[in-house]
């Protein structure tokens, strides 16, 4: 590539009149679908940023133990409802690296509350790669090294501490593990059910179609939340937190599939008349094979986009259930469980930081919405 004096770029390679001009264009047309989708998706900046952000969040999930300074249920009985502490770099105009001012607590005998005041005289430097509460890296490798932790003799509550003196920041990180995966499990359940019922309804038609269609209509016409509530109230209280988590995600998915099944069915109804389907059938392909190999790949990407758009509903659903006390239960940490503390106004007014978990919820839900919009717009690469 050479740049001419007038600013144009010219290819150095000698001009080859034999080369087919069409070849370049062909390359574009023959490119695999995902390349084209990716090319178009890249132009959707908001979707791209949201996607990257979500990917980053999910990658962090297995190592939250390393990032969080405290364990999820580690209590500090001396620091109940301690306000957020900030990390500072300069003390009295001098740079001394990241440090915090330790909090001193004092009982206010008029309001019967603890009053916390930072002690501005003694800056205490943060420790890095230090030992703390043990946790399991990737859920397997036991470790007790933390990215950063509180200096000796001080606490480190970036976003304050809650009713039992647990660090809100660490709990939000641990809560992400459940709150973010609940949507994924729920959507997988709904995906499997939706594709299964949608495809048999659309492919076979007739009576099966009628029955499935009625079921879809009925489920879609019912308010979800009361049913979610009723189903989760049926979960026995002696189940382990893990079992409860799984069953709640399944419950979230069970009521979500009708929407997906409906769009699958509509697609199938139109696609099953295509010639290539007839051809496959003539050659003796079983219905299962026709559905899986010939029909589903046609709009898999479309389904993924709509699944992305329904994950937020599940995250919000889990939050609502846990918030009302019928979802995940106490030793488990999720954003909804944390917000349970922020249930009454008096609490929020006195301890506003207990409502912080709503920020990650809003951000994650927005990100999923933007990502889904971006995906949906870029799925049809041949359409301008």
């Amino acid at each position: 590539m050479t740049q001419l004096p007038d600013g144009r770029y010219v290819d150095d390679a000698p001009y080859d009149p034999g080369a087919s001009l069409q070849e370049l264009e062909r390359k574009d047309l023959d490119a695999p679908n995902w390349v084209l989708i990716w090319r178009k998706f890249k132009t959707h900046k908001l979707g791209l940023v949201s996607g990257a952000f979500l990917l980053f969040c999910y990658l962090l999930l297995p190592i939250v133990g390393f990032i969080a300074p405290y364990g999820p249920n580690q209590r500090h009985s001396e620091h109940l409802y301690s306000p957020p502490q900030s990390i500072n770099l300069f003390h009295e105009g001098k740079f001394i690296g990241p440090f915090v001012y330790p909090m001193t607590s004092e009982a206010d005998l008029e309001t019967f509350q603890w009053v916390f005041k930072p002690d501005y005289q003694t800056p205490m430097k943060l420790e890095f790669f230090c030992e703390g509460k043990e946790y399991n890296l990737f859920g397997l490798v036991p470790s007790d090294t933390h990215l950063f932790c509180a200096p000796e003799g001080s606490t480190l509550f970036l976003w304050g501490s809650d009713r039992l003196g647990r660090d809100v920041f660490s709990r939000i990180l641990y809560g992400a593990q459940l709150s973010l995966t609940v949507g994924l499990i729920g959507i997988s359940v709904s995906f499997v059910l939706g594709i299964f019922f949608g495809s048999i309804a659309g492919y076979f038609g007739g009576r099966i179609d009628w029955v499935i269609n009625r079921v879809i209509e009925i489920l879609r016409s019912l308010p979800e939340l009361p049913l979610w509530l009723a189903l989760s109230a049926a979960v026995p209280s002696n189940w382990s937190p893990v079992a409860v988590f799984f069953i709640i995600s399944v419950i979230l998915g069970i009521l979500d599939w009708p929407g997906l099944a409906r769009s699958v069915r509509a697609k199938f109804l139109s696609l099953r008349e295509e010639e290539y389907v007839r051809a496959a059938e003539m050659m003796g392909a079983s219905s299962g094979r026709v559905i899986r190999k010939h029909l589903l790949p046609n709009f898999m990407s479309h389904l993924i986009a709509s699944a992305t758009l329904s994950i937020p509903a599940m995250i919000l659903g889990e939050t609502a259930l846990s918030f009302l006390g019928l979802g995940l239960r106490a030793p488990a940490v999720s954003w909804g469980v944390m917000l349970n503390d922020a249930q009454n106004l008096a609490n929020i007014e006195i301890y506003p930081w207990t409502a912080i978990p709503m920020l990650p919820i809003i951000i994650i839900v927005l990100a999923f919405n933007f990502l889904g919009d971006g995906l949906r717009d870029s799925l049809d690469p041949y359409q301008q």
């Binding site: 209509e217 009925i218 509530l229 109230a233 918030f323 409502a355 709503m358």
Partner: protein
């Protein structure tokens, strides 16, 4: 007359749906192992109170809980005679709440029409907000009006209802001196209707309406905007503009009318989620609607109470959807009458 036939047909399908829903609800409320009474009997036995056991046993046979499940269902709905002849939901007997030791009808009482009121207010709110904003966003597409409304809409979709409730409640009280909690001044509770009571209810309705309606309004607004944009690109709009019609008149006369149909029909899709939202918001804000009742009933396994509340919520949704379907047919003569997607 066609429309009447369609309305009757639609009513018939609603009844059928309701019947299926009743089975679903009955199964769900019977899912938890054990029921309220057998738990209570076990508890009483353990503490050696035989008088209580006798009463619980009596209630058990009184409400046919000792019969097989399918018979219990039929008795509950009122298809089969129970111990006292036919007295189920269709006969107007909603059952007995074991937790409160009162008939279900007495517990829910006032909350029923308050639930309807809250949801009606929310639906009105959705229309009143979404219509002007959606049209404005489409007419001034890609301007600050459009972007601001899109941003607010996205936030409305992403903020969980109950959080919005808490936040608005807090600031509503602080800045506008709106009352906190409940649907009316405690002084008016159980009082007969009076002008003051109506005023009190209206003031208390402001925050809940806003909270329940916001996500619906933003969804509706975005859809109306998309529909309007589709219409605005069509040649007839260009013609109207070229002939010198004023923009506002042109908007109201042509594209809006076309974009209006889906707008009406959509309320049917939105209702389920709005009623869900109202249940949740009622719990958070302590409204005297059916939401908090449902929560306590579910937590204490009070099966007739929770069954009735679930049925009521479903009925409310179904009726709303039916009305919106019939309205749509009234508005748009192009829609075929029998079974729209058959």
């Amino acid at each position: 007359m066609e429309i009447l036939r369609y309305a009757i047909y639609r009513f018939g399908t609603m009844l059928l749906t309701l019947w299926v829903v009743s089975i679903l609800v009955f199964v769900i409320i019977n899912l938890p192992p054990g029921d309220y009474l057998s738990n209570q009997i076990a508890e009483l036995r353990a503490s050696g109170q035989s008088a209580g056991v006798a009463k619980a046993e009596f209630l058990r046979s009184e409400y046919a809980l000792d019969k097989p499940l399918w018979q219990q269902y039929l008795i509950w709905v009122g298809f089969l005679p129970g111990p006292h002849g036919f007295s189920g939901l269709i006969q107007g007997n909603f059952g007995w709440s074991f937790e409160f030791d009162l008939p279900v009808a007495e517990i829910v009482g006032d909350t029923l029409w308050l639930t309807v009121l809250v949801n009606l207010a929310a639906v009105l709110f959705v229309y009143m907000v979404a219509l002007p904003l959606g049209v404005l966003a489409a007419a001034r597409a890609r301007s600050w009006v459009d972007y601001t409304s899109a941003f607010v809409g996205y936030l409305g979709l992403a903020t969980p209802n109950f959080l919005l409730a808490l936040i608005l409640f807090y600031y509503g009280h602080r800045w506008f001196d709106l009352p906190i909690g409940g649907l009316m001044d405690p002084a008016f509770e159980g009082e007969p209707m009076s002008w003051d009571k109506v005023k009190s209810i209206l003031i208390h309705l402001i925050v809940p309406t806003f909270v329940i309606g916001t996500s619906g309004a933003s969804a509706m607004m975005q859809r109306l905007r998309a529909n309007m944009l589709d219409e605005l690109g069509k040649p007839y709009v260009e013609t109207a503009v070229a002939k010198g019609m004023s923009p506002s008149r042109m908007l109201a006369k042509y594209p809006l009318r076309v974009a209006f149909n889906p707008f009406v029909a959509d309320i049917g899709n939105l209702l389920p989620s709005m009623i869900s939202g109202s249940v949740l918001v009622s719990v958070v804000l302590g409204l005297q609607t059916i939401g908090p009742t449902l929560l306590t009933a579910l937590k204490t396994q009070d099966l007739f109470l929770s069954g009735f509340v679930l049925m009521f919520v479903a009925l409310l949704t179904l009726i709303g959807t039916m009305i919106s379907d019939v309205l749509l047919v009234l508005l748009d003569p192009r829609i075929r009458y029998e079974g729209r997607d058959a």
